[in-house]
Amino acid sequence: MKIKTNKIIQVLSICCLAYNVLTYADDSKTTISEEELQRFTKAVTIIKENYIKSTSDAKLVDDAIQGMLTELDPHSAYIKGNKVKILDMLLEHGKFEGIGIDLEPDGALLKVTAVIDNSPAKKAGIRVGDSILRINDKVTKNMPPKEMFSLLNGSKGNKVTLTVIQKNHHKPRTITLTREIIKIQAVKWDLLTPNYGYIRISLFTQQGFDDVSKAILKLQKAAKGNLHGVILDLRNNAGGLFESAIRVTNCFMGAEDLKENRIIAYTKSRDNETGTVAKANYGAFLPKTPLVVLINEGTASAAEIVAGALQDHKRAIIAGTHSFGKGTVQTPFVLDKKSLIKITTALYYTPYGHSIQVKGIIPDVIINDFKIQENKQAAEESAGVENLAAHVEQGTDKTPQKNRQRQEQENNEIALAHKDYQLYEALHLLEGLSAVDNAQHITTLSVKR
């Protein structure tokens, strides 16, 4: 059974390659054989006449279409009723009320395939790959998508109780979450240290390109023109709009930088026919600055396209854990006013022809997500040093202040290591890259001389 819950993800995972080409099928060329159609109508008639309670044609046909699509692959789906409107609404507004997870059926269990940043689910520690056994004490097996959708999403403030099976836990955990209005702040940026920037993209939305280009300019300004490197964080980015992902990639490598092969991604449909070829057509905002891209098992679809392109063109070092592996293209087709199907029509390929499907993007540098054990003694000691430094400071001149700055930076780094080990490691990687980069500069300079 195909079940999609989280509205936003649902909407955006329809990579909108063909969003503009929603068309009605030409009824004149109904391509099903008379014999098979008869088998179907016979089944419908038997059910209507004999089932324990009365059923409607509409329900039976809906279940039939859903049955066909579910068996195709995990991303082909039948979307019914108001969800069609939600699709448009969400692309425009980018907010919803709920707990912020995307679920997909995996046999009887529902698997978490995405967790939205800052959502109640994320805060409660729900992770991609967890299985949901029950929602509000209702077993999720065979739960109609509509019911599940309304249990998870809706008015803020209401509580949702999930029974979750997590990796490395044999016993299910029960978690109670409060629904919130979740605004998708798809792009965030910050300086990690005075010369190193951080850009987090949680979803490729319509505004993705604007937001990222602005973030780059602001980072450069904040670093006072001395931006030595940037970390592009695509962890748990479930994808989004294909077009947006292409433009964002273009921000980091421009047409002039790539020369012959300007491809960012391309698709192949049935019979190996090449479909869309997306290229870097514009100049870049940040073409040279060292770049580390962080990915993990929640990085999917459009986000994998970005990572794959930057990796193939050797524009960035990809770090983290290998990505989700959703390399299929879904195209929506409208059936009537209230329903559409999206079916898998093509596969994505990276510039050098690697299919993302199943395999995912393999990081150049694998950084696992560790939790660092708090070292109490060390913390106390450093506090002691700080006190001492404060004492000494009174009697001396500028040197201690420098010490203090260094100390602060060290403390910040330790805090970062505790908070986000992968990011901490990525920062080190970036610092290393930047050092090599400088060394090369020096060599080229000296060679020129």
Binding site: D27, I32, T41, V44, I47, E71, G107, K141, D336, I343
Partner: protein, 445 residues
């Protein structure tokens, strides 16, 4: 979809209503707009899906989609599941010899066939299956991979009851012969009849089993345990016949119902009859059920309980109170459709609720106590006074030895099947009470 013994049996529950005369209806019976939606979807998939797909596959999946969204027991049988379902009904199959059901989201073993690979490797009722061949078990349908060629291997990861860590078992598929009816004397005067499933000949076999038990025991039987644990159901007609054999027709009150059923377009009633009935007249019965007892098995337990004919012991049953009828679509496919709910003679619906035992007996594991039991009694003391009835020590020793053998036998049974051991005790208790009543009435006379 589900083609494991239990599941599939479950929907063959009432399969024998002839439906060969269903006309092929014209598509006018389905609303135009709905049908158009369907054909449009097919057109798009055929044209643009990433790989080509046949009409048959699409329509099979469509019919399957309709049925699996109705209820857990309505099902579409086609291809493999069709042939396997038929093969299972006729008897032997190749597999590992267990059946399971999804209970509270966990796939639990509800029956293990004696002597099967599953039995030999120590799979037990109540075990939770977490993985098959390294893949997490998604559904009762995960049972599908248990079928395969003889001699091939399958790996199960299971959680034994009360054990925190899962263990991995590797099993070799073999021919599973699971006779639907098994009988034996548990000990002199006490019979056992186990019924695994209700197939076309099952009621006849039960009849034979009862006759054989009577013959083997020579004296009058003092009690029979009817074991319906792990019985996932089957043909309703067979269950009704068996109930009729077990009921004491003469002792029935006004209500002679065995069961009745009601649905949108389905109604039926089954009554007890005096001819060809009451094979265990005046003999106490204990019926054993557990969470694997479903459908037709619940029908029997419910009827015998309502008529106070038997004591129902064990654990609450599964709660599958619906009837399925088989409708052929064409030569190679059929629909098992839920058409009605059935009720016990007093109008209880077992649906979801299940049958609650009169006496709850949990499936307890008896841990072996290796301490040798040195008999220390009066007889071991030097210079003891002799028995007052004149038994000499040799005779008393023989009596004690016989008791010890019985004790050992009972202990062995308790270790092997605690619920059955307890059921036997219940029967003995019932008999003791009956005898007292007899004595009381005879004194009055």
């Amino acid at each position: 979809m589900g083609n494991k013994i239990i599941l599939f049996i479950v929907f063959i529950f009432v399969c024998c209503i002839a439906h060969s005369t269903i006309a092929i209806e014209s598509s006018d019976d389905i609303s135009k707009t709905a049908l158009q939606r369907f054909t449009r979807a097919i057109a798009h998939i055929k044209q643009d899906y990433i790989k080509p797909i046949s009409d048959k596959e699409l329509v099979d999946n469509a019919i399957n989609g309709m049925l699996s969204n109705l209820d857990p027991h309505s099902d579409y049988l086609v291809g493999d599941s069709f042939t396997k379902a038929n093969a299972l009904l006729t008897g032997e199959y190749i597999g590992i010899g267990f059946s399971s059901a999804t209970i509270n989201g966990a796939v639990k073993v509800i029956a293990v066939t004696d002597g099967s690979p599953a039995d030999k490797e120590g799979l037990k009722v109540g075990d939770v299956i977490t993985e098959i061949n390294g893949k997490s078990v998604k559904d009762i349908n995960a049972d599908k991979p248990t079928y395969g060629p003889k001699g091939s291997k399958i790996t199960l990861t299971i959680l034994h009851k009360n054990e925190p860590k899962p263990v991995t078992l590797t099993l070799v598929r073999d021919i599973i012969k699971s006779p639907p009816v098994q009988w034996r004397l548990l000990e002199p005067n006490y019979g056992y009849i186990g019924i695994k499933v209700f197939k076309t000949q099952t009621s006849e076999e039960v009849k034979t089993a009862i006759t054989s038990l009577k013959k083997t025991n020579k004296k009058k039987l003092q009690g029979v345990v009817i074991d319906l644990r792990g019985n996932g159901g089957g043909l309703q007609r067979e269950a009704v016949n068996i109930t009729n054999y077990l009921l004491d027709f003469d002792k029935l009150q006004k209500n002679k119902l065995i069961t009745y059923a009601k649905g949108q377009n389905y109604e039926s009633q089954s009554f007890a009859s005096s001819e060809d009935g009451s094979l265990l007249h005046n003999i106490p019965i204990v019926v054993l059920i557990n969470e694997g007892s479903a459908s037709a098995a619940e029908l029997i337990a419910g009827a015998l309980q309502d008529h106070k004919r038997a004591i129902i012991a064990g654990e609450r049953s599964l709660g599958k109170g619906s009837l399925q009828v088989m409708f052929p679509i064409d030569m190679d496919s059929k629909i098992g459709l839920t058409t009605a709910l059935y009720y016990t003679p007093l109008g209880h619906s077992p649906q979801v609720k299940g049958i609650t035992p009169d006496v709850i007996i949990n499936n307890i594991e008896i841990v072996d106590n290796n301490q040798p039991l040195g008999i220390i009694g009066e007889g071991a003391l030097t210079n003891h006074i002799k028995n007052g009835n004149g038994y000499n020590d040799n005779i008393i020793q023989r009596i004690h030895e016989a008791l010890q053998i019985q004790k050992n036998n009972e202990l062995a049974l308790a270790r092997k099947d605690y619920q059955l051991y307890e059921a036997l005790h219940l029967l003995k208790g019932l008999n003791a009470v009956n005898n007292m009543q007899c004595m009381a009435s005879s004194t009055k006379n």
